[in-house]
C-alpha cells in the first residue's frame, strides 16, 4: 500500500515541484504516471525512493512512514523497492549476471542463494542466454531488462520505473512494458512514469496525470490524458 496525503515538495531555491498530492495505490496495482515535462513525475518517484524528503504532508509505503524514516533505516527501506531508470545504470565492467548478483551481495545474501536466484530472474526477463555478456555487448532493450532483473533481485513488493523506455526503440519498449505487466501479474505493485501515449492507450491501465505539481486526472482503464 502506498499513500500520499497532501504531499508537497519544495526544492531549495523555491521550486514547488509538488503542490499537494493525494494518491492511494494498493498492493498489486499497475499505475502509469503521465504528465508534461517538469510536471513533477520524477520528483514523485524520488520521494518514494526517499532520495528526497517530503516538505509537508504524509507519505506511507507499506509499514514505513517516510516523513519519520531515519537515515539509518533508509537502506533497509530501499530493499522493499526495485527501481528502473531511463539510462539503465548498469555497471559497465560487470557481466549481466554480476550486475544482478551485485544487488543481492550488497544486502548480504548468501552466495548459494545468489547462484540459484540470478538465473531464475534472468529467465523471467527473457535474458537466459546473456548472463556472461557485458552491458556494451547487448542492446538497449536488453540492458533495460538487466536493470529490471536487478530491480527484482531482492524480491521487492514495489517496482518503480522512471521512463524505462525513454532510451530504447519502440519494438523493445513494447517488450519492456510487457515484462512490467508480467511482473505485475506476479503480484507486485508497478509504477511506471512514461511519455509514451501509444503504450499507455494500448494497455488500458490506471493512469495518474500530473500537471504543474498536481494530480489532474486519475482513471482506471484510462487513456493518456488530454489534460496534460
Amino acid at each position: 500500500m502506498i499513500e500520499f496525503r497532501n504531499v508537497k515538495k519544495a526544492y531549495p531555491h523555491g521550486t514547488m515541484a509538488l503542490k499537494g498530492i493525494n494518491l492511494h495505490i494498493d498492493d498489486g496495482e499497475f499505475v502509469f504516471i503521465v504528465g508534461h515535462s517538469g510536471a513533477g513525475k520524477t520528483t514523485l518517484m524520488k520521494l518514494l525512493l526517499r532520495e528526497e524528503r517530503i516538505s509537508s504532508g504524509e507519505l506511507l509505503v507499506g509499514d514505513y512512514d517516510l516523513s519519520k524514516l531515519s537515515n539509518f533505516k533508509v537502506p533497509f527501506y530501499r530493499r522493499e523497492l526495485g527501481v528502473v531508470f531511463q539510462d539503465f545504470r548498469l555497471f559497465p565492467k560487470k557481466t549481466v549476471y554480476e550486475n544482478v548478483a551485485f544487488a543481492m551481495e550488497v544486502v548480504g545474501t548468501p552466495r548459494k542463494k545468489i547462484r540459484r536466484r540470478v538465473p531464475a530472474i534472468l529467465n523471467t526477463v527473457n535474458l537466459a542466454g546473456k548472463q556472461d555478456s557485458y552491458p556494451n555487448e547487448i542492446s538497449g532493450g536488453e540492458q533495460q531488462r538487466v536493470a529490471l532483473a536487478r530491480a527484482l533481485a531482492n524480491n521487492p513488493q514495489v517496482i518503480i520505473a522512471d521512463e524505462p523506455t525513454g532510451n530504447i526503440d519502440p519494438k523493445m519498449s513494447l517488450e519492456i512494458m510487457n515484462l512490467l505487466l508480467k511482473i505485475n501479474k506476479l503480484g507486485k505493485t508497478v509504477i511506471v512514469v512514461t511519455h509514451e501515449k501509444n503504450l499507455v492507450d494500448y494497455y488500458q491501465q490506471r493512469v495518474v496525470s500530473l500537471r504543474d505539481g498536481l494530480i489532474v486526472e486519475d482513471r482506471i482503464g484510462g487513456m493518456f490524458s488530454e489534460k496534460v
Binding site: N71, P75, F76, R89, E105, V106, G108, P110, R150
Partner: protein, 302 residues
C-alpha cells in the same frame, strides 16, 4: 556484516587507488614525509634526553649540616631527607639517594685525593661539615626539592646546580614545543591531502555509489572500501617511512659515533626500531582513517 566478503572491500579499495594513481601517490608522499620528519625529530629528542640524563652530576644535591649538630640531630635530618619525594629509590622502594658522609669521611676523601696536602688537619680540628649526598630522580622538580630541604632544621648549606637543571628543562620543553608543532602542521596537511584523495575516489565512483544506494546498500557497506583505501595509504606510508628512517638514522648515528662518539652517546637503531615501527603504523593508519571518514561524512549518512 558477517556475510560480506572482506576481499571484496580490499579489491575495491585497490582498484580506486590505481584509478586515482596520482592522488594516491601524493597522499603517500605527504604522509611519508610527516612520518619521517616527525619520527626523526622524536628520535633526536630521545637522544638529547638520553645525553642529558647521563650527565649524572646534574641529579645531585649536597646538603651540609650545622657543625654544632649532635649525632641525634644528624640522624633526625637523615630521617627527614629520606621521606622527601623525588629521591632516588631502588626497585624495592628503599631509598638509595641519600648517602651520609661524616666530616671524618669527608676529610679522609680529601686526604686520599691529594696526599700530603692536609696532613695537619686532624679529626679534632676538622673544619668540614657532616654532609648528605642526595641523588634525585626528576630534574623538573628539583627546585621544589631544594626548597623542602632548606626547610629542615639543622641544615646550613645546600649545594645544587639548580640553574643548569632549569635551563636544561627549558631546552627540553622548547624542543617539545617545536616537535608538537611539526606533528600538528604535517598531520593537518596529511589529513587534508588524504581527504582529497578519497573524495576523488568517491567522485569517480559516484555512479556505482548511487546504484548501491538504490539497491539498499548500507552506509557502512558503501564506505568500507574507501576507509580501507585510507588504511592502505597509511600502511604503505608507514612501512616505507620505517625503512627510510632506519637508513637515515643509522647513517646519522654512524657519523655521530665516529666524530663525537666520546661526548655523545646515541641509541642504536635496533634498540628503538619497534617503537619507530609501531609509532609509524599507528600514526599512519589513524591519519588514513581520519582522512577517509571525514571525506565520507555525507555518504555515511545516506
Amino acid at each position: 556484516m558477517r556475510r560480506y566478503n572482506i576481499f571484496y572491500f580490499i579489491k575495491e579499495a585497490f582498484l580506486s587507488m590505481v584509478r586515482n594513481g596520482v592522488m594516491t601517490f601524493a597522499s603517500i608522499a605527504v604522509l611519508l614525509s610527516l612520518l619521517v620528519v616527525t619520527g626523526g625529530f622524536a628520535l633526536l629528542v630521545v637522544n638529547i634526553d638520553k645525553n642529558l640524563e647521563s650527565i649524572g652530576v646534574m641529579k645531585q644535591i649536597v646538603v651540609f649540616c650545622d657543625r654544632s649538630a649532635s649525632e641525634e640531630k644528624v640522624n633526625e635530618i637523615y630521617e627527614k631527607l629520606i621521606k622527601l619525594d623525588n629521591i632516588e629509590k631502588d626497585e624495592n622502594g628503599n631509598v638509595t639517594g641519600v648517602v651520609r658522609v661524616t666530616k671524618a669521611e669527608a676529610l679522609q676523601q680529601m686526604k686520599e685525593q691529594s696526599p700530603g696536602t692536609y696532613d695537619d688537619v686532624t679529626d679534632e680540628n676538622n673544619p668540614l661539615y657532616d654532609e648528605f649526598d642526595i641523588t634525585y630522580v626528576d630534574n623538573a622538580k628539583v627546585s621544589e626539592l631544594d626548597y623542602q630541604i632548606r626547610q629542615i632544621d639543622g641544615i646550613v648549606k645546600v649545594n645544587n646546580r639548580l640553574e643548569l637543571a632549569t635551563s636544561i628543562e627549558n631546552m627540553k620543553s622548547g624542543v617539545m614545543v617545536i616537535f608538537v608543532w611539526f606533528l600538528v602542521v604535517l598531520g593537518v596537511v596529511s589529513v587534508f591531502i588524504i581527504i582529497n584523495t578519497i573524495k576523488l575516489s568517491v567522485f569517480s565512483r559516484r555512479n556505482e555509489i548511487s546504484i548501491m544506494r538504490y539497491v539498499g546498500a548500507t552506509g557502512t557497506f558503501i564506505s568500507l572500501p574507501f576507509i580501507i583505501e585510507g588504511i592502505i595509504i597509511g600502511l604503505v606510508s608507514s612501512v616505507i617511512g620505517y625503512f627510510i628512517e632506519m637508513y637515515v638514522y643509522s647513517y646519522v648515528t654512524k657519523m655521530v659515533d665516529s666524530e663525537i662518539g666520546q661526548i655523545i652517546s646515541v641509541y642504536p637503531f635496533d634498540d628503538i626500531k619497534l617503537y619507530v615501527l609501531f609509532g609509524f603504523l599507528g600514526v599512519g593508519i589513524v591519519t588514513g582513517i581520519i582522512g577517509s571518514v571525514i571525506s565520507l561524512g555525507r555518504y555515511l549518512k545516506q
